[in-house]
């Protein structure tokens, strides 16, 4: 039982680390500010989430797990707010996003 939990927890930690690395790679490869933010959002959703899950599996039913859940909830509310604030500030200051050619799919 504990061996299976350990393996599952290692899997989560390694997968979380891999997604963080992919996010970092995307941050370097993407062409402009807004597309880079998309790459960063992989790091702080799946990357951080899987790592927290792996650590929860290691901690078991303890107060440590409760604190990890609180960190997860904080990320769930704080990271989209920060991303939104950053994108809105950039657009308000006149930073034009790089857009692909083609018709606008908007539906106002």
């Amino acid at each position: 039982m504990s061996a299976a939990l350990d393996i599952l927890s290692w899997f989560c930690l390694v997968a979380g680390g891999a997604f963080c690395a992919i996010g970092a790679l995307g941050l370097v490869r993407m062409p402009d500010f807004y597309t880079r933010m998309h790459a960063a959002s992989i790091t702080d959703t799946v990357g951080a989430g899987l790592m927290l899950l792996g650590m929860m599996l290691q901690a078991g039913f303890t107060l440590v797990t409760v604190k990890l859940v609180m960190i997860g909830l904080l990320l769930l509310f704080a990271s989209p707010t920060a991303t939104h604030a950053l994108a809105k500030a950039a657009l308000a200051r006149g930073l034009k996003p790089l857009l692909a050619a083609g018709d606008d799919p908007s539906k106002p």
């Binding site: 997604f19 996010g23 993407m30 799946v46 989430g49 609180m70 991303t83 939104h84 083609g102 539906k107």
Partner: protein, 158 residues
């Protein structure tokens, strides 16, 4: 009144779970701190249906598993784009009208869009969201989406 009581209970539980000590002095100090924060929040008039939406809790907890599934799916797609040597992105800005009525519902919808990799809410107003999408498909996907319908159901506006 219900919201104030709930806020007090949540704050006190937060204190106890973070401290992990059960000595009378610390339990008393926690109760005192929670009470002071509740009184301050009431004085600031931020404890209402919008500021502490207890009517949404059950529905939101049912909404989260679906949101996590969406986040995992989109993260997988964006990861594949990043690892693709051709980097097949087609960034778009999309405007559309969300179907939520309350501030807390709009905030939930905007945050959900930003949380899913590949889409970022740039502007969120009552009758219009401006969303930046990493690809044309992900940008067009937020218009009248299933997420929109689900958040409106969670909101349960009256």
């Amino acid at each position: 009144m219900l919201q104030l009581a709930s806020l007090g209970i949540v704050l006190y539980a937060f204190w106890i779970l973070l401290s992990g000590y059960f000595e009378p002095f610390l339990l008393g100090a926690g109760a005192g701190s929670a009470l002071v924060v509740v009184l301050l929040a009431r004085r600031m008039k931020i404890v209402d249906r919008e500021g502490h939406p207890i009517q949404m809790i059950a529905a939101v907890v049912l909404y989260w598993p679906w949101l996590f599934k969406e986040i995992a799916k989109c993260a997988w797609e964006v990861s594949r784009i990043i690892l693709d040597p051709r980097l097949p992105i087609s960034p778009v800005l999309v405007r559309f009208k969300p179907s939520q009525k309350s501030q807390v519902g709009l905030a939930t919808h905007a945050n959900s869009i930003t949380l899913t990799p590949g889409t970022i809410t740039v502007e969120a107003a009552h009758n219009e969201f401006l969303v930046h999408g990493l690809t044309r498909a992900s940008g067009a996907g937020v218009i009248d989406s299933e997420m929109d319908r689900r958040v409106t159901r969670v909101e349960g506006y009256r």
